[in-house]
């Protein structure tokens, strides 16, 4: 079983990202489970959401404490929350930032940074980075295929909006693939 923890702020679509990643993974032929860290947080407050992937039915219901992957939707979260807590050695951290982060990242962790906000603004006209980061996650983790991600996005958003989100995800996917 592999586990993903998404760190975001209320309103950034972390829960939707978790759901869409699970949908894409399931459509790709594995069992998946997505759930939020159920809270009463309002817009702007730190939030978390989780995804599990496995080849067999997932029974575990606890939150994710030792993730294989983390997505950080907003690099300012690093100051507020220990986003790296429990991240496995060899794990992958995908961080949305426009800067070079001078941060003592844990050892043995692969850190991928990208300016998802700019990509999102370019395609959506809004700084909502969840689908962009999903593209990056697909490229970095291999847990989901870009095609499955597109299908999941189309199931959630209609017409034009789906297209814009897919364009953002695709750009991030290619950026991460290219960097690798």
């Amino acid at each position: 079983m592999r586990e993903l923890r998404i760190h975001g702020r209320g309103g950034q679509g972390s829960v939707t990202a978790a759901e869409l990643i699970a949908v894409a993974a399931f459509e790709g032929g594995v069992f998946a489970q997505a759930f939020p860290a159920f809270g009463v947080e309002r817009r702007g407050a730190p939030v978390q959401a989780f995804v599990r992937f496995d080849t067999k039915k997932i029974r575990l219901r606890s939150q994710v404490y030792e993730p294989d992957y983390i997505i950080v939707q907003d690099s300012t979260l690093i100051k507020d929350v220990n986003v790296f807590l429990g991240l496995k050695e060899g794990g992958i951290a995908i961080i949305n930032t426009e800067k070079d982060l001078s941060y003592p990242f844990p050892k043995g962790v692969k850190v991928i940074t990208l300016d998802a906000t700019s990509i999102a603004l370019k395609h959506l006209g809004l700084p909502i980075t969840n689908t962009t980061l999903m593209g990056a996650f697909a490229a970095a983790s291999g847990e989901i295929q870009l095609k499955a991600l597109e299908d999941a996005v189309r199931r959630r958003f209609s017409g034009d909006l789906a297209g814009k989100n897919i364009a953002a995800a695709t750009e991030a996917y290619q950026a991460v693939k290219g960097a690798a």
Binding site: A18, E19, A22, V23, F26, E27, F31, A32, Q33, A34, F35, P36, F38, V40, K57, I58, R59, L60, R61, S62, Q63, Y65
Partner: protein
């Protein structure tokens, strides 16, 4: 066909396929996604139900009571404070023998205010005469609704039923679920056939008052019906299994219990985590198993005693506490095992949404083996000083 979807939506779909004719519900976290989905289905004529947007949970269940008495299949959903507000009506539905089915999206009771999961809400209604079924995952949460209607409306039973599943942990989780098609649902669940109804062509008076000369007999009749449910539920579960290949024929379910020394007893979504923890403990050479209680009311004393006859130690996990006493399931299990010599230890765990991990389960087992039980597990140290 397996589809991945949110638990609440899976339940709403299943409820829709049960063809309720009247739905009355009041929004409360974390039940909202279910009633929103049903409202959406009603607004799009996907279900043929009259959806009453009541002004309180109290009225929600009262309206269900009236509609059920008038001869309709009814549905409601609630949780926690909402269920507490229905308290009086709950006793009424059972006493009037009306087969209302209601989802309980389990949540803690205030104060302090908590929107998070435990099972104090439905457990607190354990004496009200409703059937109580608890689901481990979203597949079971959906399937148990078909089963609940089937059993509740059976003329040998005629009692209301809760289908309980853990708030957020199941209701807000996306996972694969196989929902029945309408055709499958119809083949399993026949249309509602009321035993008696409000009807000008054949007037009946419902809800008379009973003097001391009669009252006890009516309460006894409810208990007799609950006892009958001990065989009708497995019957309905067996039929479901024969038709759809998912087995709910047991009031309890065993997991790796055959040669176990230690048995964990639990209800609801925690059972999944317990199973994973058991696999790890088994790998480490510990003989541990799980007895999952699917049906808490009627309580399956006989089945519990039989299933636990070979173990030396039982650790009962309760996401509830009968304050001033113990966890509800621990009390029942101890009653079931009275005189058997098996050691029964109770653990109050996961109240108010406190997360329960595999390592917590292992720790509970160690405590049970050491005879350290009847405790709140995992309290903050400062309250113990």
């Amino acid at each position: 066909m397996l589809e991945i979807m949110e638990g609440s939506h899976a339940v709403a779909e299943a409820v829709g396929r049960c063809r309720p004719q009247v739905i009355a519900a009041y929004p409360i976290t974390p039940q909202t996604h279910i009633v929103e989905a049903l409202a959406d289905m009603a607004a799009n004529c996907e279900i043929d139900a009259d959806y009453i947007t009541v002004e309180s949970e109290f009225s929600a269940l009262s309206a269900c009571l009236g509609a059920s008495a008038a001869g309709s299949r009814v549905y409601s959903a609630t949780t926690s404070q909402g269920l507490a507000l229905m308290f009086e009506v709950c006793f009424n539905c059972a006493g009037m023998r009306l087969p209302v089915v209601m989802s309980i999206v389990n949540r803690a009771m205030g104060a302090p205010l908590s929107i998070w999961n435990d099972q104090q809400d439905s457990i607190s209604l354990r004496d009200s005469g409703w059937l109580q079924l608890y689901a481990e995952d979203n597949q079971e949460a959906t399937d148990l609704h078909y089963l609940a209607y089937k059993v509740a409306e059976d003329h040998r039973i005629l009692l209301p039923s809760f289908v309980c599943f853990d708030g957020f942990i199941l209701s807000h989780t996306y996972e694969p679920v196989d929902t029945l098609t309408q055709e499958q649902a119809d083949s399993y669940l026949p249309p509602f056939r009321p035993y008696q109804r409000l009807d000008a062509a054949d007037p009946v008076s419902f809800g008379l008052f009973a003097s001391p000369d009669y009252y006890m007999e009516f309460r006894y009749a409810i208990d007799q019906a609950l006892d009958k449910a001990r065989s009708v539920i497995p019957e309905a579960g067996k039929e479901f299994n024969e038709m759809f290949g998912r087995d709910y024929s047991g009031l309890v379910e065993e997991y790796r219990l055959d040669d176990a020394d230690v048995a964990i007893v639990a209800m609801g979504s925690i059972c999944g985590t317990v199973k994973d923890a058991i696999d790890e403990m088994r790998d480490a050479g510990k003989r541990v198993g799980l007895l999952k209680i699917r049906c808490f009311r009627p309580f399956p004393h006989k089945e519990v005693r039989k299933a636990l006859s070979g173990v030396t130690t039982v650790a009962v996990l309760d996401k509830n506490v009968s304050l001033g006493s113990r966890g509800a399931a621990a009390l029942e299990v101890r009653d079931a095992l009275y005189g058997s010599g098996v050691s029964v230890q109770g653990y109050i765990i996961g109240l108010g949404g406190r997360d329960v991990r595999k390592r917590d389960i292992a720790s509970v087992v160690a405590k049970a083996e050491a005879g350290e039980g009847d405790i709140y597990y995992g309290l903050r140290q400062e309250v113990l000083r």
